[in-house]
Every structure is written in structure tokens, then in C-alpha cells.
């Protein structure tokens, strides 16, 4: 096995292009997940029992099976209910589901870690239960949500590689194709690994910086 710089550079342009797709998909998915997770988490904690039940089942089901199963389900289910997305947005939809259920648990445990007194103080002032969660408890929990969410971002980036099975043109799919087109193997694999390390590293650093700014 030998690694040549020429081959390494030869496969670089397509892989870099694919890396952009990986970043876009991961960031978009986590952003969507963050938008839908708080209401779901609060519904799970204080919603009427059918909502609590539905969210619990969704979370446990998605967490209990491999992400590939969720991706397959979204891939088949979207067209079946009449939504035809291209590969990119199908991928975003699938990763959003995966990201959201983990985010639901992050939000929930952060709010629960605040302790009973905060909720009681808000209720005693006259906030309704829903408003107490949304206006008093959730803003406080934000600080505690960010560190595990940074971790979750790394998980979403890594899970995005699985979208190669539904032919989304991200790093893993493009790299896999390159191996069979060019028969350059080691250079492609090493470069893919480096790209993921750089992406995970940079985005994590970015989100930690954001964390610090919000902490003040």
C-alpha cells in the first residue's frame, strides 16, 4: 500500500465539493432539530397524555433502532405520502428526525435538572404551566443544553455519512464512487477521514465559542 500525493490531489476537488454538502446537510438538520425539539420536549413533559405518549414512542423508537433504519423509513415514506424531495432534502429530513429525538432528551434532562423550585416560583407568580416552561424554565435550560448539543452536532455529522446509502452526494457517497471510478483507494479513504475530522473539529470549536459567548 502506497500513498501518492498526485492521487491525493487528484481526488481532492470532488471530495471538497462533497464536504460542503456534508456541512450543509448537518448544519441544516441540527438547526431544524433544534427548532422542533423544545416544543416536543415540553409536550413530553407536560402535554396531555396522548401527546406525551406519542412523543415518547417516537423518541424511544428512533433511539432504539439504527439510524440507517430511520433513513430508510424517511426515504420510502416521504414519496409514499406524496412528498417528493431530492436526495439532499430527503437527507436533511432523515437527519432532522435522528437529531431531533436526541435533542428532545437533551432539552428534557436540562429542564429537569433545574429542580422543582424554579417551576414552583413561576407557577406561584401566576404563569400557566406551559408559559412557565417556555418563558422561565426553557431560557434557563439553554445554557445547559448547549454543551451536549455540540456533542450532538458531531453525531449528526457522522450520521450524515449514512446518507450515502440513499445516494446523497456527501463525502462518503462521493468517496465511495471515486474508489471505483479511479481505483485510487488509500488516498480517498485517508482524505475522507481527514475531511470528517476537520469538519467535526471546526464545527465543534465554533459551537463551543458560541457557548462561551452565550454564557456571558
Amino acid at each position: 500500500m502506497s500513498v501518492s500525493l498526485t492521487s491525493f490531489l487528484e481526488v481532492m476537488p470532488p471530495l471538497l465539493k462533497a464536504a460542503v454538502v456534508t456541512v450543509e446537510i448537518s448544519v441544516l438538520s441540527l438547526a431544524f432539530a433544534c427548532v422542533i425539539a423544545p416544543p416536543l420536549a415540553i409536550a413530553r413533559m407536560i402535554g396531555p397524555w396522548p401527546a406525551r405518549f406519542a412523543v415518547s414512542v417516537l423518541v424511544e423508537a428512533v433511539r432504539g433502532v439504527p439510524p440507517l433504519v430511520v433513513i430508510a423509513f424517511v426515504y420510502f415514506a416521504l414519496p409514499a405520502i406524496g412528498l417528493t424531495f431530492n436526495g439532499f432534502w430527503t437527507g436533511v429530513a432523515a437527519l432532522t428526525v435522528v437529531g431531533a429525538v436526541y435533542a428532545v432528551d437533551i432539552v428534557r434532562s436540562s429542564i429537569e435538572s433545574l429542580g422543582r423550585g424554579q417551576k414552583e416560583a413561576a407557577l406561584a407568580l401566576g404563569f400557566s404551566v406551559w408559559r412557565a416552561y417556555l418563558e422561565i424554565l426553557f431560557p434557563q435550560a439553554l445554557k445547559r443544553i448547549l454543551p451536549p448539543l455540540t456533542n450532538e452536532l458531531a453525531n449528526v455529522i457522522k450520521a450524515s455519512a449514512l446518507l450515502s446509502v440513499i445516494s446523497v452526494n456527501e463525502i462518503s457517497h462521493v468517496g465511495h464512487g471515486l474508489i471505483f471510478e479511479t481505483f485510487i483507494v488509500a488516498e480517498v479513504i485517508i482524505q475522507m477521514a481527514i475531511l470528517y475530522l476537520v469538519i467535526v473539529g471546526c464545527l465543534s470549536a465554533l459551537s463551543r465559542a458560541l457557548e462561551r459567548r452565550l454564557a456571558h
Binding site: G64, P66, K158, A161, G201
Partner: protein, 224 residues
């Protein structure tokens, strides 16, 4: 949804489930002693030492790259070095490579979470470092590792599904094959998910029982 069809799928997925179980348990049995051993070792090394740096790099690469890339590496790169492994063992190797990395981190964090005062107290009554580690530190650390290791176990099982890309006919590959034959994805994926659930849940139950036995007897120290 057609219950007869689902039952049929349930039965047809049993042999592939067997492969998933074989892959996961084999990998687990190899990765756990390696990972926890190396992680404990890492916790006792100075950060600047060469061994510590190598271990850190390994953990960094495993945690920073998708399992899919690690599987590609084993599948494509290993044969180029002249090492020919059967597909099953390639799959196990990829899972071990992955899981051991995570378990190193679990063990390192577990050992480091025991306060320095415990080391100092052990040293003060005349224990050397390895005696202290075995007698005082590890029993305390083991309890903190139990939860994360259990979590890693279910991650490993879920990760084994990615081996479908190297044509190992495990649970997910088999489900995909059934879907592509008849496109009844809802039923097939529910059944597939059910089997993963049962497998993960059974193992977690067993692990909990083992954990309980340990804590009931006061941890590792008093067992010897």
C-alpha cells in the same frame, strides 16, 4: 398493515438477526477488554508520553470519523496490505476498531473521575500505584463506567447495521432485500426495528443484572 406478512418477515429475519448478534457479541467481547484496559492504562500515563499520544490520536480518529469510513478502511485497505480476512471478521474488526476507541474514553474518564484524594489516601497507607489502582481506584471507577459501557453496547449493535454496506447479510441488509422485492417498507422496517429493540433490550437487561450483582456485593474489591 398485514399481520400475516409481518409474521412472515419476522421469521425470515431470524437468520440475519443471528448474524447481527454474532457480529455484535464477538466484537463486544474483543473490544471491551481492549478498550477498558487501554483506557485504564491511558488514565495512569502522563499526557506527554508517547503511548498516551498514540492512544489519544487513535481515540480522536475513531470519535471524529463516521463508522462508515472506518468500515471502508477495513474493507478496502486491509486487502491491499496483503491481509485477507473473511467478510465476517472484517466486519468484527471494524466494529472492534470503533468500539474500543469509545471504550478507551469511557475508562479514562471513569478512572479520572475518582478524586486525587483517593490516590493520596492509598499512597499514604503504603500502597504503590498499581496496588492502589486495583484495590481502590478501579472498584470506584467501575461503577461510573457501567452506565456508559451499557450505552456503548447498544451503540455497537446499532453500528453493526452499517456493515450492510459491505454486503454482510445482517439484519439491515436482509430487510433492505425484502423491501426491494416488494416495497412494503412500513411493515418490514417495523419488524426490523422490533428485532433490534429486542436484542438491545435483552442485553441491557442482562448488563443491568450483572451491574446490580456487583454493587450488591460492594464492587470489585471485595469479590477477590
Amino acid at each position: 398493515m398485514d399481520p400475516v406478512f409481518m409474521f412472515d418477515v419476522l421469521v425470515r429475519l431470524i437468520p440475519p438477526l443471528g448474524l447481527t448478534i454474532a457480529l455484535s457479541l464477538t466484537a463486544l467481547l474483543i473490544a471491551t477488554p481492549i478498550g477498558l484496559g487501554l483506557g485504564t492504562l491511558r488514565a495512569t500515563l502522563r499526557d506527554q508520553s508517547l503511548a498516551a499520544r498514540i492512544l489519544d490520536l487513535y481515540v480522536f480518529v475513531v470519535r471524529g470519523t463516521p463508522i462508515l469510513i472506518q468500515i471502508f478502511a477495513v474493507y478496502f485497505l486491509l486487502p491491499m496490505t496483503g491481509l485477507k480476512l473473511p467478510l465476517f471478521w472484517m466486519g468484527v474488526l471494524a466494529l472492534v476498531f470503533n468500539s474500543a476507541g469509545y471504550q478507551i474514553e469511557i475508562a479514562r474518564a471513569g478512572v479520572n473521575s475518582v478524586s486525587r484524594g483517593q490516590w493520596e489516601a492509598a499512597a499514604a497507607i503504603g500502597f504503590n500505584r498499581s496496588q492502589s489502582l486495583l484495590t481502590f481506584i478501579l472498584p470506584q471507577a467501575a461503577r461510573r463506567m457501567a452506565g456508559p459501557v451499557m450505552n456503548e453496547l447498544s451503540q455497537l449493535i446499532k453500528a453493526s447495521s452499517v456493515l450492510s454496506v459491505i454486503t454482510l447479510y445482517e439484519l439491515h441488509k436482509a430487510s433492505e432485500a425484502i423491501i426491494s422485492a416488494n416495497f412494503r417498507f412500513v411493515e418490514v422496517l417495523i419488524v426490523e426495528g422490533f428485532w433490534y429493540f429486542v436484542f438491545v433490550y435483552t442485553l441491557v437487561m442482562i448488563a443491568r443484572r450483572i451491574e446490580k450483582r456487583f454493587s450488591a456485593s460492594g464492587g470489585l474489591a471485595e469479590q477477590r
